[in-house]
Amino acid sequence: MEYKNKSNLEKVLSEGKFAVTAEIGPPKGSDPDQIKQKAEILKGYAHAYNITDNQAAVVRMSSLAGCCILLGMEMEPVMQMACRDRNRIALQSDVLGASALGIRNILFITGDHQSLGNHPSSRGVYDIDSIQLIQIVKNMRDNGIFQNGEEILRGNPSIFIGSAANPYATPYEIRVDRLEKKIYAGVDFIQTQSVFNIERFNEWMDEVRSRGLDKKVHILAGVTPLKSIKMTERMKYYIPGVDVPDAIEKRMKNASDPKKEGYEIALEIIKEIKKIKGIHGVHITALFWESIIPSLISESGLVPR
């Protein structure tokens, strides 16, 4: 069977299977072994693996390079691309380059603001936002047209288009509108912000389903196992857009083994997510705790066959 983009993630999702993606944070250095070691641990446990793009505005190895390392290991990457650091010329150029190198999934996001990262004196670009970038790439892929209206001379990029959604940011009323705009712009799959507050996530999904949007885009719910009380507090109070309910913070604080408790909470959340109609997969982000992902996926019964 021939799939238009030859993306395995697209194949899995279009067949209606429950997809699993996992995140790999690239190193603060040029040593490829750091990515390879994390990748070895995760190999076989997900359908595709995200490589983040200078996440939290901290300088790391480029997503494009990380994705190429994964391709060399016969693992399918999801390249992340933020609008913070590149204008429309560089973004379109990197989409062409990624496609040429065999990357078939790209996740387009606006990006965390540079003032929150490790180079706060830098100048942000933000020439275009994520919705505009999705529309541009869709037009490059399907119609062979650049943003300026010129035709691509040879080789439309072959990209399964992803983006993020955050049900927890305010105003809540506009969150499904944003998703709808992304769908209208041409997004194929969505990875959500990490889910801790199931109740709010369900409210968001109710609205998504009532507008029939779960039929128009593949939604993968984000899951992040909490590793420690310190990490729980960091996620709750300092990371933009994350909603850790008081009850979960309390469980982590009262636990004799916070690592084990964080793992149990993640298992429970995956179980809840699997019950939600319209959810097509999970996206696991274990910040600096990639080694926990295989057992989390195995115990949840999600190992790809």
Partner: protein, 212 residues
């Protein structure tokens, strides 16, 4: 209005070296910002004199960014200017450069940092309202500008970092998208936000064009 802030005194003293210093203020924005009105010019004169710097003269231009007017208003101060080695301009970056066009011998020293084009909310409280992008999009957002007021220039709704109506960049900063949403909801015009706003045409910006 152009919002300015006085540079740190140590930086100014460093630039002014041994003087003598002629001080220039501005009757418009810098007066309203309390950075370059008559009061601030005279306060600066006192401070410099206390540091043993001579101040042979001063003037408040009306306004500093008006080239021909400046030439006329500086005429009566010719002798004072001859004595000065430094001309300290307490006005915006435009005012400083207009003085650079006129002053031949002395060094022109910028006395303020120009911050933004903004609104006076209360005395000494200012808010950025416009970045003069060259292509006004206000009508698409009910008269509230995301280009100048969102740190990520988001044109299609708020990013994922807004929390309780506040911006991820600064919890004291209201997310402009929260303001836009509430305003359009009250007006029954939320449909304005449904369309995808195309990438902005920055070629209309005057950033690289110097003369109109």
């Amino acid at each position: 209005m152009i919002i300015t802030k006085q540079k740190p005194l140590d930086d100014l003293l460093n630039s002014l070296e041994d003087g003598p210093v002629f001080i220039v203020g501005c009757s418009e924005c810098a007066t309203l910002c309390h950075t370059g009105g008559e009061k601030e010019v005279l306060d600066m004169k006192k401070i410099l004199e206390a540091k043993n710097l001579q101040v042979p003269g001063w003037v408040v231009l009306d306004p500093a960014c008006h080239l021909q007017n400046d030439k006329r208003l500086l005429k009566p101060h010719e002798e004072e200017l001859k004595k000065a080695k430094k001309v300290l301009v307490l006005a915006c970056g435009n005012g400083v450069q207009t003085l650079t066009d006129i002053i031949k011998d002395a060094d022109v020293v910028a006395g303020t940092d120009s911050l933004f084009l903004g609104e006076i909310k209360h005395v000494n409280e200012f808010e950025k309202r416009c970045i003069m992008c060259g292509e006004c999009l206000l009508d698409s957002y009910g008269g509230i500008c995301p280009v100048s007021r969102c740190p990520k220039f988001m044109l299609n709704g708020p990013c994922g970092g807004s929390k309780d109506g506040k911006c991820e960049v600064d919890p004291n900063l209201e997310c402009v998208w929260n303001v836009i949403y509430k305003h359009l909801k009250d007006k029954g015009k939320l449909q304005l936000l449904k369309n995808i706003q195309r990438p902005k045409d920055w070629s209309k910006s005057t950033m690289m064009r110097r003369v109109l």
